[in-house]
């Protein structure tokens, strides 16, 4: 081939190559904007809405002892926080039922709850007079029992608990002892049963469930500032952020770790004092656990062990091809801070959606095996 011929080939080849390059690059990258990178917001402090919520809940003025002196002005408090246990080794986990119900996770859980078309919920509403989706504000799980707060003005206490032995316990409070319960059915009949829990009611705002009347009375006494327990409640107002928050006794947490992590559970019991939890469900589900202890070195070592355990779990998930779990554990980290450390864990909402997809299927289909 002569020089002119070669030039034609080079030029033709160049044009063809540029065209192929443009096509390849266009196909490879496309012209669609990439989706934003996943970002998880970990609950780390009170935000504006949390402060507003806390402010609105300061409705309860604790009664003070009258004497001849000038009474100092008493600030209104959140009655639920006042009712929480005091002292180390206690557990109180608050679930913001109303906030959770209106979160993406709450919507998913509601789908599961309403698979029967809401029949059970309607039945419960008809029997109790309480609509959990509207009237329930918060639910607290403590080592003594359960505290529910909200608007219980329409609750049918008399019909539900009327047959039990009950007594007044301070202003606005009533305690019902364990006993028989009769429930009027929609068809006109009555269903009788027995409830082994004592129940306390307070100003149509709070329901306290305990194993016995004394436990219920203790909770009600704490609210009124009576009771033998001293010190501040487990949670103060500045810790009321997230859709779920609270303090977990180390023993309780160690039990949750299960037999596979027995060594870690023991170290946790030996070193840590308490664990404060915060869960945010406003987008992806993000959890922060603030683990506090006394010895800086031991806490740092515990943080490293925990970080190692999470890393091993992630590697195991990767090795077993469980990419979903591996991706979840990508967000797991431990942030050491002197005598405490923060453990951060997150679950993308999409993963929960996938797990709860069966809830959107018609009733009758069974949930997948765990």
């Amino acid at each position: 081939m002569d020089s002119r011929g070669r030039r034609k080939v080079w030029l033709g080849g160049a044009v063809l190559l540029f065209a192929v390059a443009a096509l390849l690059m266009f196909t490879g990258q496309g012209d669609e904007l990439p989706p934003p990178a996943p970002e998880v917001k970990f609950p780390s402090r009170m935000r504006g809405t949390d402060f507003e919520r806390a402010e609105k809940r300061r409705t309860w003025v604790m009664p003070t002892a009258q004497d001849a002196g000038v009474a100092a002005p008493v600030k209104p408090r959140d009655p639920l926080l006042a009712a929480l246990p005091r002292g180390p080794g206690r557990t109180a986990v608050v679930i913001e039922a109303n906030a959770l119900r209106h979160s993406p996770l709450g919507e998913l859980l509601l789908d599961c709850l309403m698979r029967d078309g809401g029949k059970n919920l309607e039945q419960f509403k008809a029997l109790s007079g309480v609509d959990p989706l509207q009237d329930l504000d918060r639910m607290v799980i403590t080592d003594e029992g359960l505290i529910l707060s909200g608007d219980f003005s329409k609750a049918r206490y008399q019909e539900l608990l009327g047959e039990r032995v009950s007594s007044d316990h301070g202003p606005g409070a009533r305690v019902y002892e364990p006993g028989d319960t009769s429930i009027a059915l929609p068809d006109g009949g009555t269903r009788r049963g027995r409830m082994d829990n004592a129940v306390g009611t307070w100003n149509d705002q709070m329901l306290v469930l305990g194993r016995n009347p004394d436990e219920v009375k203790t909770v009600l006494d704490r609210m009124d500032g009576r009771g033998p327990e001293e010190g501040p409640p487990l949670l103060d107002e500045n810790s009321t952020y997230g859709e779920m928050y609270g303090v977990l006794a180390v023993e309780q947490l160690a039990k949750l770790l299960g037999p596979e992590q027995a060594e870690l559970a023991q170290r946790l019991k030996d070193v840590a004092q308490n664990v404060e939890l915060h869960l945010d469900t406003s987008g992806d589900v993000a959890m922060v656990a603030d683990v506090r202890g006394l010895d800086e070195q031991k806490m740092t070592d515990l943080g490293k062990s925990l970080g190692g355990a999470l890393s091993m779990a992630r590697m195991k998930a990767q090795a077993e091809g469980n990419t979903e779990m591996a991706q979840l554990l990508d967000f797991a980290k431990v942030r050491p801070d002197g005598t405490s450390f923060k453990l951060e864990l997150a679950v993308p909402l999409s993963a929960i959606q996938e797990q709860l997809a069966w809830c959107r299927k018609p009733a009758g289909s069974t949930p997948p095996a765990p």
Partner: protein, 278 residues
């Protein structure tokens, strides 16, 4: 021996004699040695538990070692990609003009080789230099972090390979420019313009949205459709280096596109040089 490799060897000998390139290699070695000697990483069960730099504890969280190293490998990938291309533009800009300079070109053309062999040889020589430098930098980094953490990944090396493909497209344009004007400065300028154009091409969808609809936006879309999408390739390299999942099949096409663009630019150079009266 193939005349292309003869010319490539000639270019490499030329490079070896340059103090600028030698100084770069020494500098790179010092940086790698400093990182290796000053950085202490404590790994517990696959989690990066503590980091010490020059003996000082770096406050950081405890997380899986590969997750912890992601930002480092990501930053290194960008540094190798853009830093490598920039250094290549500056350091290699006068190879081709020097080879095509009066006196030397006549001597080379007297040898039993075709004109395109000269350009192809220069291209192969420079790319050998680029690949060597990239393997040294990315490989050194992988080795250091691999030994210190026990986490071994090919990510940074593959990302370095992608950077070489990006530089190949840029250098092909520089080489073609050298056939038009024997000026190292203009070759560099052409390289810089393509680099900037390539960065814009990678973000063409974002940039295009901010342009007023009409001739300007259409022209921008048309030009950047052909330009190598270097920034997109850099993002892909960083994703690879940090083991971030990629969109399926996207990187291969992009990489192929940039490589084919480079060959196209080289073909233009061959076409022009073939008809040039030296």
């Amino acid at each position: 021996m193939n005349p292309v490799f003869v010319i490539a060897g000639y270019v490499l000998r030329e490079a070896a004699s340059r103090k600028f390139i030698l100084a770069f290699m020494v500098g790179l070695t010092l940086v790698l040695a400093t990182v290796a000697l000053s950085l202490k990483l404590e790994v517990v069960d696959g989690a990066l538990a503590a980091t010490r730099l020059f003996g000082e504890v770096v406050r950081a969280h405890i997380t899986s070692v590969d997750v912890a190293l992601r930002p480092i490998f990501r930053a290194a990938a960008y540094l190798v990609f853009y830093g490598g291309i920039l250094f290549g533009i500056v350091a290699c800009s006068d190879f081709a003009p020097g080879l095509l300079s009066p006196g030397r070109i006549e001597h080379l053309l007297a040898l039993p080789l075709q004109r395109w062999h000269l350009l192809a040889g220069t291209f192969v020589g420079v790319m050998t230099l680029a690949v060597g430098g990239t393997v040294y930098a990315a490989g050194g980094l992988t080795l250091i972090f691999g030994v210190k953490t026990g986490y071994w990944t090919m990510g940074p090396l593959v990302a370095g390979g992608l950077a070489c493909v990006g530089f190949a497209a840029v250098y092909a344009v520089m080489l073609t420019t050298a056939t038009l004007v024997r000026s190292a400065a203009l070759c560099s300028a052409a390289g810089f313009v393509l680099l900037v154009g390539g960065i814009l091409a990678g973000f063409r969808t974002d940039v295009s949205r901010y342009l007023e609809a009409g001739f300007g936006r259409t022209s921008f879309d048309a030009v950047t459709l052909v330009l190598p999408r270097l920034s997109a390739l850099a993002v892909g390299a960083a994703d690879l280096a940090s083991s971030t999942p990629l969109k399926p099949d996207s990187l291969g096409m992009l990489l192929g596109g940039v490589l084919v663009f480079g060959l196209g630019a080289l073909a233009v150079g061959f076409w022009h040089f073939e008809g040039k009266d030296c």
